[in-house]
């Protein structure tokens, strides 16, 4: 395996030294491109109180290509599907090599605070979010309680 680029080393160091509030990202012991991530559910969101596990992988051509990120913890959210895949523009066509792991995780946290049912990945969830937001939020809270607490 080729040596780890300076950019990844720098980012990892900074993530450890000045962690983002509510987010922890720790590189895997055997693979420095694979991060174990935990995002706490933002306050005043249906995900409040939950701890959400994610995995983040930096591909060979990072930062020219976006990191690959996926929720491992089940979550009821219109932009996240059953497999934990995330619909977020900066992970796709709006990726810029100037973005960082830190900014990506911050955007994911922001997505939890502001779901966007008009650009859905999980269609059934998005549909409910649009026609009956109260029920959708109830579901999201229930899922948070069931899957994202006491583990």
């Amino acid at each position: 395996m080729t040596a780890l680029p300076r950019r990844i080393i720098k980012e990892t160091q900074r993530l450890m030294q000045e962690p983002v509030p509510g987010i922890s990202a720790v590189p895997d012991e055997s693979n420095a491109r694979y991060f174990h991530v935990i995002v706490t559910g933002p306050e005043d969101s249906p995900f409040e109180g939950g701890l959400f596990k994610l995995e983040l992988f930096l591909p060979e051509d990072y930062p020219m290509s976006a990191p690959k990120v996926r929720f491992i913890t089940k979550i009821y959210h219109p932009n996240i599907d059953r497999l934990g895949r995330i619909c977020l523009d900066i992970l796709k066509d709006k990726w810029s090599p100037a973005l960082q792991i830190r900014t990506v995780l911050l955007s994911i946290q922001a997505l939890l605070s502001a779901p966007n049912p008009d650009d859905p990945l999980a269609n059934d969830v998005a549909e409910l979010w649009k026609v009956n937001e109260a029920e959708a939020i109830r579901n999201a809270k229930e899922w948070t309680r069931r899957y994202a607490m006491d583990n």
Binding site: P5, R6, R7, K10, D61, M64, S96, P97, A98
Partner: protein, 488 residues
């Protein structure tokens, strides 16, 4: 071929005029009638170009624009690509408000870059690779976002492997400024990547050019050029693929591009339903085998003609509706028309759905059947060639005497092709007098095509009069229908 030559090709050629004057002075109206652009509804002027010819054509536009506006050819390319190669349009806009045009075309940022103090430092840190390097190792686009050259190169390489070329932009977050060709090429050193970049850029340029289309034939490099992006038939001179110039799919007159797309999508979505129903109902004949409606002997269809004659009981019937062929006489030919239930609006939702499916199947079966007939008639053409061979060997007629049969077969294919594409058109038509006229003409065309097919399959002599007559009638019906209903 230069633009000017092309121009003169499009006009009625001046040189030819002198010739014509010599032969038919004062016969202007005759010449008028012969002008195919007025008499033939499918007439379409286009030319087939090689990659080199297209490059020359594009470069001419680039040169004109860069000379007129005093900008680099590379910037001219970005402008042309962003504005569908409309030189005059770009010049007017540039002279009106060049800054606005450059921002719109993503050459300049909407706000002028801030002069960053670090620009003047000897060393700086690249935000992408976080390495500290001397300032001459950095470059930026018009937006002023500085990155080291190695990172730019890597960025380009990754983008190009994803098939992106003219769309490569600045690496900064939310910056939309595009990297012009010269910026990319000075930083790309690997020849294979440079080649790929140029190939992809060429593809993008052709696709953004309203007068150019890639030939859709497999692995064909030809580019077709036409002045007007009409929904007319273009035929590649290299691979012979025929396609609609506007939408690039199979030629579909008299149906328009949007309708044929809708129809093909519907057929793809519903093909299972249609196949299931035709396999499980008796009155539908999408299979190649049917029973004779009179003596019930098994008959396999091995020719294109839908006028069938049972080899056992000599009963004449229509393959499509299995009705007596006598009822398919010229004036009250009804087989192509779908008779809608006039009181359907008052029926139950269930009945309406059944009716909608019935209507779709009616058109789909005929569409599919003519497509099959076209294939069977291709086989007939092979048989005709063998038959001619035999005849000539037996000294009954010469090659030249039999040529007419080949002409007849190719005309038949042309007519049946149009007939096939009348069915989607009719399916989507609103009921009314226009639809009645269309269906009348469609029926007329269909009966003459079946007559022609019948006669071709049975042509045994070099007596061509009858067949020639049938050919003229069929083609006339086809032309009439297209003239009345083909819109471009």
């Amino acid at each position: 071929m230069s633009g000017e030559e092309f121009e003169s090709d499009m006009e009625y050629s001046d040189d030819d005029c002198c010739y014509e004057d010599y032969y038919n002075i004062e016969e202007d109206c005759d010449a008028e009638q012969l002008d195919p652009s007025k008499t033939d509804p499918e007439y379409f002027l286009y030319e087939c170009l090689t990659v080199e010819e297209v490059e020359r054509l594009l470069n001419e536009s680039v040169e004109i624009l860069s000379n007129t506006l005093q900008i680099t050819p590379s910037l001219a390319k970005v402008l042309l690509h962003a504005h569908e190669w409309a030189i005059q349009d770009i010049i007017v806009k540039y002279r009106g408000d060049s800054c606005k045009l450059l921002v719109m075309s993503k050459i300049k940022p909407p706000h002028p870059p801030e002069s960053v103090a670090s620009r003047h430092l000897r060393h700086q840190v690249c935000p992408v690779c976080v390495a500290s390097q001397s300032s001459d190792m950095f470059s930026s686009l018009a937006c002023g976002h500085l990155f080291c050259k190695d990172c730019w190169t890597m960025h380009f390489e990754v983008q190009i492997t994803q098939g992106i070329s003219t769309g490569i932009g600045c690496m900064a977050q939310e910056c939309e400024v595009l990297a012009p060709e010269d910026f990319v090429l000075t930083l790309l050193s690997r020849p294979s990547t440079r080649d790929k970049y140029q190939q992809f850029a060429f593809r993008d340029y052709v696709k953004s050019h309203p007068q150019l289309r890639f030939c859709p034939g497999p692995n064909c490099q030809v580019v077709i050029r036409a002045k007007e992006p009409w929904a007319k038939r273009a035929i590649c001179n290299l691979c012979r693929t025929a396609f609609c110039f506007r939408c690039g799919t199979d030629y579909h007159a008299p149906t328009d591009c949007a309708t044929i797309k809708k129809w093909l999508t519907k057929c793809a979505d519903d093909s299972e339903t249609a196949n299931y129903i035709s396999a499980h109902t008796k009155d539908v004949s999408l299979s190649d085998v049917n029973d004779c409606p009179r003596c019930h002997i098994c008959i396999e269809k091995n020719g294109g003609c839908n006028h069938m004659q049972c080899y056992n009981c000599k009963h004449d019937f229509c393959w499509m509706c299995l009705g007596d062929w006598k009822s398919h006489g010229s004036e009250y030919y009804e087989c192509s028309r779908y008779k809608e239930n006039p009181s359907i609006a008052h029926e139950s939702v269930h009945a309406q759905a059944r009716e909608a499916l019935k209507k779709y199947l009616h058109y789909y079966e005929r569409w599919e059947n003519h497509s099959k007939s076209l294939k069977l008639e291709e086989q007939t053409l092979q048989k005709i060639k063998t038959r001619i061979n035999k005849k000539v060997m037996n000294a009954s007629g010469t090659w030249i005497d039999w040529q007419y049969l080949l002409d007849a077969a190719s005309l038949l294919a042309k007519c049946r092709y149009t007939l096939q594409y009348t069915y989607p058109y009719a399916y989507y038509m609103e009921p009314g007098p226009r639809k009645e006229l269309f269906e009348y003409q469609q029926a007329q065309l269909e009966i003459e095509i079946e007559n022609l097919s019948w006669k071709i399959e049975r042509a045994e002599t070099t007596d061509r009069g009858d067949l020639q007559n049938q050919m003229d009638i069929a083609e006339k019906r086809r032309a009439t229908l297209l003239k009345d209903f083909l819109e471009v």
